[in-house]
């Protein structure tokens, strides 16, 4: 019985939250990696683009709520997301037309594009803060828990409860659907294949008649979809605050590089690598050992490798180690 309790404990505090957080990071990381692979620059506006998408989602959610539309037990935001995506894609294409296109055509070095993306970051951040303000917003409605800790205890008769939030399930399911669709698109369709070719060798791709304008446009569209959904899922699960989104850019970068930048599948797994290591290294295992070990051996400290204050520092340290020992990432980047 104690073993099962210990496992449920880990599931409740490590596995489920890490899986949800990892999915949110994974979407962002694929966004970063696609931009890097095809448009060839590190997009420092990632976090703020996600926060822009989330803001539009929230505005639509409020609008639908005021009209009385709802999905019952599911959050209203799910209906708002498609509308937000349309808006977001428009914003992305607008930015590309007025900002990034010029540098792409004049073949500027990647560093210059990265600097330009900092300008976009400033502007996007300002727009978000001017429209919705810098404070914390919750826009979740509907049923909060799929399984409550208390119900689970009653059902199984265990000491430890397992709580699964509906947002966590939604996050994981939506991520899986979205990512499978994306991989199917990249691997099976003609456009997807031409995108990979363009990423692999630009000149060769151009020679074989691939239209760069189309590739770039589709990249921004996919990026808009990923940014909106990734941001909205994070906001549903936790809460929406522009500053947190800006900060999330850092673990997202870490995930993309750990997985091998330019490699969407690596970025997908990288998200989970970062999320799991962050939570595994900062969790206090005292209770876990109390279940497993005989009383005489029970630990008297928290058995915590690092204090939770260092959550971000963990992912950055992993990134630094990966950069030093395997700069192309765990899954060999730069092949889309």
């Amino acid at each position: 019985m104690d073993y099962i309790n210990a496992i449920v404990l880990l599931l409740n505090y490590i596995f489920v939250p890490a899986l949800a957080y990892g999915s949110q990071l994974a979407l962002g990381a694929i966004f970063v990696t696609l931009i890097y692979g095809i448009l060839r620059f590190a997009n420092f506006a990632t976090g703020d683009m996600m926060s822009f998408g989330t803001m539009v989602t929230i505005l639509f959610t409020w609008y639908f709520q005021s009209l009385g539309i709802s999905l019952g037990i599911l959050p209203t935001a799910l209906i708002a997301i498609p509308f937000a995506i349309i808006f977001m894609v428009g914003y992305m294409l607008l930015i590309d037309k007025f900002v990034f296109k010029y540098y792409r055509i004049s073949k500027s070095p990647p560093v210059q594009l990265a600097m330009v993306s900092i300008g976009v970051m400033f502007v996007t951040q300002a727009v978000v803060r001017i429209i919705i303000g810098p404070s914390d917003r919750r826009f979740f409605d509907g049923e909060k828990f799929l399984i409550k800790a208390g119900e689970f205890k009653e059902m199984t008769g265990l000491n430890e409860g397992l709580a699964i939030k509906s947002t966590q399930v939604i996050t994981i399911i939506v991520t899986l659907i979205l990512v499978s669709a994306l991989f199917w698109f990249l691997n099976k369709t003609k456009t997807g294949k031409s995108m990979r070719a363009y990423s692999d060798n630009e000149d060769l791709a151009l020679l074989s008649g691939i239209d760069p304008k189309k590739i770039v446009m589709i990249t921004w569209i996919i990026a808009g979809v990923l940014a909106t959904i990734g941001g909205a899922l994070y906001g549903l699960d936790k809460s929406f605050k522009p500053f947190t989104y800006f900060n999330n850019m850092l673990p997202i970068f870490a995930a993309a590089i750990v997985g091998g930048i330019g490699n969407p599948f690596g970025a997908f797994l990288g998200g989970y690598v970062i999320a799991f290591s962050e939570i595994l290294l900062t969790y206090a295992y005292k209770k876990f050992f109390m279940y497993l070990l005989p009383e005489s051996l029970e630990p008297n400290t928290l058995v915590q490798l690092l204090s939770t204050d260092y959550k971000f520092a963990v992912s950055f340290s992993i990134l630094v180690i990966v950069l030093l020992y395997r700069p192309s990432g765990i899954f060999k980047g730069k092949i889309l």
């Binding site: 560093v111 600097m115 300008g119 803060r129 630094v320």
Partner: protein, 456 residues
């Protein structure tokens, strides 16, 4: 003279703007803008010699600034004797252990050829070391943090004059840059940017949460000052006389004696804070001028030419026998050390150390905007960037308010749009910075005062 006309013009306009603020808002505001402009200028000099001279991207400016601030605390605060006796020995022991660990790793690196076994040995040393250090330091840290946590709860510093921290801050930042440079400088430009950004976040996390060293988010307030205190000034005779002399024309207009006395008191209070700020301006100006002379000399020296050669074509410079790796490391350390000075200056001016306030927007990206807007590779340009951008950063709120009032003049004061916009005026500064950066990068990619290379 003729060649430098645009430099002189740009600086004259800038000073004119600050003087206008002094006339229309208040001299207090103008001087605090000017002081922070000077500190920003030091930061941009640091960032500029990395990016402008050598083409190295360093997005870790925030980390070096914070380390400079930490130096100010460690140098100027009086030591907390109780904390030292409670946990000092544990901390010193862990420090020795860390040094031992580093030496062990170095020994392994030298002794063995590069192999998997070596990597494993190093990993074992580091992991075992961290566990032992935690065991040694934990009781000490707890004991230290329990010593009067509302006031101290940390080890304190050395109780020296805070000015020394400007040098120590440079050493701290340079030391960190040396470590980072050793491990990260081989990376490609955009990887280097991301790596330095993340490492600076780690530095901030440590400063924020190691309360025994920095008091963490509880902040350290009331640091010593290199300038006199306002309260003391207000009671000093020579200062009161000075203020009286300055304002004699205004004071003479007032006939009534008591009224005249109260007016004088008002002038003294105002004057004291201006006087203190002027003291800081003087100190900062000395630093900026010294750094400017040194960096100008360096730029036109053979060393500066070599740096530009490395920046423009690494392979060619390497083929000519220049040690690119070594020079990159050198300039990385130098630039970061200068940023460290700025960090210490900033804390000196504020008189308080707030680890929670170090955010990448303000301390990394804004500095980069300054360098790019001003003109990378040109010291005068970088300094001007610091002035222009900081001025706009502060004054964009009033400008934004004015613009909002102008555009919504047709709406009633209670209209929701107008109220909302007026509430969000503080965020117009991000908008201005972003648009400014984008416009400069598009239409004047070399900055306001571009780099000029004279070939003699």
């Amino acid at each position: 003279m003729r060649k430098n006309l645009n430099v002189i013009a740009a600086y004259t306009i800038m000073m004119g703007l600050i003087i206008l603020v002094g006339i229309f808002q208040s001299w207090n505001i103008a001087l605090s803008i000017f002081n922070l402009c000077l500190i920003s200028a030091v930061m941009t000099i640091g960032a500029n010699i990395q990016w402008g001279y050598a083409g190295l991207i360093n997005f870790g400016i925030m980390g070096y600034t914070a380390l400079g601030g930490l130096a100010a605390v460690l140098i100027s605060v009086d030591p907390v004797q109780e904390a030292w006796s409670a946990g000092g020995s544990n901390i010193l022991l862990s420090l020795l252990l860390i040094i031992g660990m580093v030496l062990a790793v170095r020994y392994v690196l030298k002794k063995y050829e590069k192999s998997k076994v070596r990597t494993y040995i190093i990993a074992t040393i580091i992991i075992a070391g961290i566990i032992i250090i935690r065991f040694v330091s934990e009781p000490g840290i707890e004991a230290i943090e329990e010593v009067d946590p509302a006031k101290t709860g940390f080890l304190g510093g050395f109780g020296l004059p805070i000015i020394f921290s400007w040098i120590v801050g440079a050493l701290f930042a340079g030391g960190l840059a040396f470590v980072i440079g050793k491990v990260a400088l081989g990376l490609r430009a955009d990887y280097l940017a991301i790596a330095t950004l993340l490492i600076s976040e780690i530095v901030i996390a440590i400063i924020k949460h190691e309360d025994w060293l920095t008091r963490g988010v509880k902040n350290v307030i009331g640091l010593k000052r290199p300038a006199p205190y306002e309260v003391n000034l207000q009671q000093t005779d020579w200062f009161i006389n000075l203020v009286e002399k300055f304002n004699s024309s205004k004071l003479n207009l007032i006939r009534d004696l008591t009224e005249r006395q109260s007016a004088l008191n008002q002038f003294v209070i105002e004057g004291s804070s201006i006087f203190v700020k002027l003291c800081y301006s003087g100190l900062f100006l000395i630093v900026v001028i010294i750094l400017l002379i040194l960096t100008q000399k360096a730029l036109y020296s053979p060393w500066g030419r070599m740096m530009r050669a490395i920046r423009d074509n690494e392979e060619a410079a390497n083929a000519m026998g220049k040690n690119v790796v070594k020079q990159h490391l050198l300039i990385f350390v130098l630039g970061s050390a200068i940023v460290g000075i700025a960090g210490a200056m900033l804390v000196t001016q504020d008189g308080l150390f707030t680890p929670g306030s170090y955010r990448p927007m303000r301390y990394t990206f804004l500095i980069w905007v300054m360098v790019i807007v001003g003109g990378s590779g040109n010291n005068f340009g970088a300094i001007l960037g610091g002035f222009v951008v900081w001025f706009l950063w502060i004054e964009s709120a009033p400008i934004g308010l004015y613009l909002v009032n102008l555009t919504t003049a047709g709406l009633a004061d209670t209209h929701f749009l107008k109220v909302h916009l007026i509430e969000s005026v503080p965020y117009f500064r991000f908008l201005m910075m972003g648009i400014g950066l984008l416009l400069i990068m598009r239409y004047r990619p070399k900055g306001i005062l571009p780099e000029k290379i004279e070939i003699k």
